[in-house]
Every structure is written in structure tokens, then in C-alpha cells.
Symmetry: C2
Subunit: 256 residues, 2 copies
Amino acid sequence: MFIKKAEKAFLKTYDSSVFEKLSVTTDLLVFSISDLKTNNYRKLSNKVMSVFLANRDQFPFKDCWSLPGGFVSPKETLEETAKRVLREKIHVDDLYLEQLYTFGEVERDPRMRIISVAYMALVERSDLPYSLQQSDNWFNIFREDNKIILRNEKDSGVEFDLNMPSVLAFDHQEIIKIGLERLKNKIEYTDLAFHLVPNEFTLTELQNVYESVLGKKLLAPAFRRSIKSKVIPTGNMTSGNGHRPSELYCYKNNEA
Amino acid sequence: MFIKKAEKAFLKTYDSSVFEKLSVTTDLLVFSISDLKTNNYRKLSNKVMSVFLANRDQFPFKDCWSLPGGFVSPKETLEETAKRVLREKIHVDDLYLEQLYTFGEVERDPRMRIISVAYMALVERSDLPYSLQQSDNWFNIFREDNKIILRNEKDSGVEFDLNMPSVLAFDHQEIIKIGLERLKNKIEYTDLAFHLVPNEFTLTELQNVYESVLGKKLLAPAFRRSIKSKVIPTGNMTSGNGHRPSELYCYKNNEA
DNA sequence: ACAATAGTGTCTGTCAGACACTATGCC
DNA sequence: GGCATAGTGTCTGACAGACACTATTGT
């Protein structure tokens, strides 16, 4: 107990400025799935991954697209900051959220030294307020060869090749690349895909989500076999699609 | 170009203290494999994972065991800080190093708000200076049931159950747990195990490393099949072990 | 009728788990 | 000799890739 007392005394007089402090921010990588409508009444819509970007209205990188983010305040955990940014900028609560990686290059921000802790969030589009579903902040993600192309969902003229240097603000294109990789890896051995579909979904929709995250086609019988243990049939059917109806399933949470 | 000029002007007058800054540290989780000698001359030594802990000589948590760490200085990247800590505290350079996770609970340090970016490093024991091979900083890691026990290699009386609250300084036992999980996952789909063995090793040694990381026994034929493509036989053999000699292999880097 | 998707059956090759077996050096 | 390990052969069952096939709707 002598130690405890001495420690208290130590803490009382501790000068927290011995080591220089740094600015810390949280950047948010919000992914969702977009429906790309087709003009053939029979065809299903294509599903594409998309990421939410904010157009910066102030320096630095004014008018550039960037990930939404915010400074970590001294009284907030990192995750609280991430959730606050989601609330303030995307007006949404209770998303799937995971810490992605921490970026600490010395010159990554021209203003000053800033450490950024990146978080990745997944949303089902229809869970968002209507204005955000329709906003021009969503960029569809296309992969051709080794390229990664971001194309604005509302204005297909606004397009970025993530392999080109500095098309987004700060090191945010690097963060997006790392997030895509993380998602690609984790979707195979976790149930993370279910955060990207509505409560009820067809197995083909779910398969399309896997395909757009993995960037490759899957075979339906194999996919159905592998996913069977994770879903429950609801008995409800789709209709009005110009082809055979399909059954709707929901996620079977194996924890419960 | 007008923007560029305006941005320069903005940066010149930017006040970096608008948002309150925080202290940032890097903590290092250094894992290696220990040989537990047996008293039977025929038997091979058991291999156990171990972690390097430092005994704190100052407040807070004076006399507690903790992960080695250091403050991130404004001119250093996070990885540079991690490498500096390795040099200063473990006197070693050029280890396998990867960022693990960033810890940002508000009260994790009693002095003040500190964000800690944890890095995980892997060492082969014989690559260390002799004094560090023999130091009393290594704790062997034993898993029984769901317990995780750390036992000091030099003094088996010093033992901690990581599931008990606050047996190590700060949130360092949480960091160790997360690191063990990461290692367990990554050893299956990466070549990370080779950082824990000498340049030349027998397949049984390698298998023991996998077993102690995974915490379970493997079948030799299956292990050999799965590892075959990653190693090259050197032609050298072990001897003097009281049983059949075994061939030494080295890592086959598939990049080159 | 037919386009498009839903959904199932089944063959095949690969590969991990399992176990048996042989080989070898040191006391 | 016999202990302890090294190293291989092979059977089996699970399962992914592949493909063929049937079923069902809206126009």
C-alpha cells in the first residue's frame, strides 16, 4: 500500500507535457452496396460496392473528395469519436463498425502532424435516411484488371483511379484500398456480409454481395451449400420480376 | 492554381491548437519461442510461445510488468517509434513487425489521456544478444482450458493469469490477448511462422511452433504435406539426439 | 413461347484427418 | 535391444468446382 500512496502523489504532480502531444483524428470508411438498375425488365439489378466520400469545403484539400472524419477529443474513446462522426456526417447510428488501421506518416496532413485511426463501417442503404440514400456522396467501386475505379453514383463523369497518385485528399485512397482488402479477407470467414443486405434477402442477392466484395463470380450451387447453415428461410417470396420468384431468407445468428 | 495559392496562405496561418492534442505511444508485443528442456536425454525439448515484458521502474504501475513502449515524437512515424523502442529496449533491429491495434480508452493511463498504437514483433531467440536470450524478461505462455497463464522463464514463481483483472500494467494484458489471437489467425494463411525459427530447422521443430501458436496438436503427415511447398531441404542432418536424425530445411521465399 | 432467374442433383478431383508402417541413431 | 523420433504410404470422408437439369414467373 506504500506503493499506492506514492503513486497517487506521483500522479498529482505529473507534468503531462513532458512529451509533445499530437493531433489524433478518426476517419470513416463507410461501405454499402448499390443497386445498378438495368433497362431490361426481366433482369435483376447489378450490385456494386460503394463508399461514402465527403467533398471538403475548406482547406486543406478544399474541393477534394475525402473520407468523413473528426478530431478525437480528450474525453472520447476512439470508437466514440467514430460513432460521433457517423452521427454528425451520415446521420446514422448503430452500424457495424470495426477499427481498420492507424495511419501515422509524418507528412500525411499538410497542416501538422496528425495520427489518424481509420474505422470501417458497413451499412445497408435502406437503413439510411432517404436524403442520404440519394445523396451524391456515394462512389461505386469497379475493379478492372488491377485498377480500382471510384465513380460517383449521381454523376458518372466524376471518376477516380485509385492507383493514380493523389486523386483523393490526404492518404485516403490508401485507406480505402486497405479497407477493401480487409473486407475481402473477412467476408470469407465471418458473417460480415449480412450487414450489407436488408433483413430479408434472396440468396442470389446475398451471392451478389459476396461477388462484388470478392471481385469474382461464384457458382450458385457451391455458394448455396456454403451459406446454408447461416440463413433461415422465411417462407416469403419475391414477385413481379418477370421470372421465377425466389424465397427470402434472413440471417441466422449462431450466437443466440 | 488559384486554389493551390489560397491553400498555401491558409496553411501559413493555420493554428494547430484549435483541437486539443493527445499523447500517443507505441507499445510492443514481442513474441518468441522458448525451448523447455526435458530431463530425458532422448526427448526433444518442448517449444512454448513467450512474450517479452519489462518491469516498470517508475510510476505509474511501478514494479508491475508491462509491454515495452515509448512516446511517439512529432517527427517520427508510428513504425519508426516501434523500431526505436525495439532498439532501445531489446537491442535488436530488423524484426518482423506489424501494427496490431490502437487502444484509446479514456482512462487506460492514470496520468493522462494516452492513445497507444500496439505493434507485434516476432523474434527468433538466437538472433538476440546473449544477455537478452537469458534475461528474466521472458514469460512463457501456457493455455489450459480457457486460461492464459504467463510464467516467468527464470523464476517460475512469477506467474499471471491473464483472465484475472489487472495483473499487468495498463491494458497490456488485453493487448497480449489480441496479439495471441492475431498470431493464431495469421499463422494459418501467412508465412509468419518462419520468423520464429532459425534459418535451418527440422520439420518437427516447425510443427512445434505451429502447435504452440495454435494451442493444439497437429498430425505430422498432414502438416508435412501442407508445409512442403514452403520449405527447401538443405541436405544437412541433425545428430546426437538419441534417435533417428532429421533433415534440416530452410524457408522458401515464394516472392523471389 | 421465351427470356431470365430459382433451385437441385450429381460427378469428380482434391485434400485433410487418421492410422499404420518402416527407418534410424544413441544409450 | 529398445526408446524416441523421422518420415512415408494409403484409406476415407468431406467438400468445392463444374455442369446439367428442372421449375416458375411476366410479358
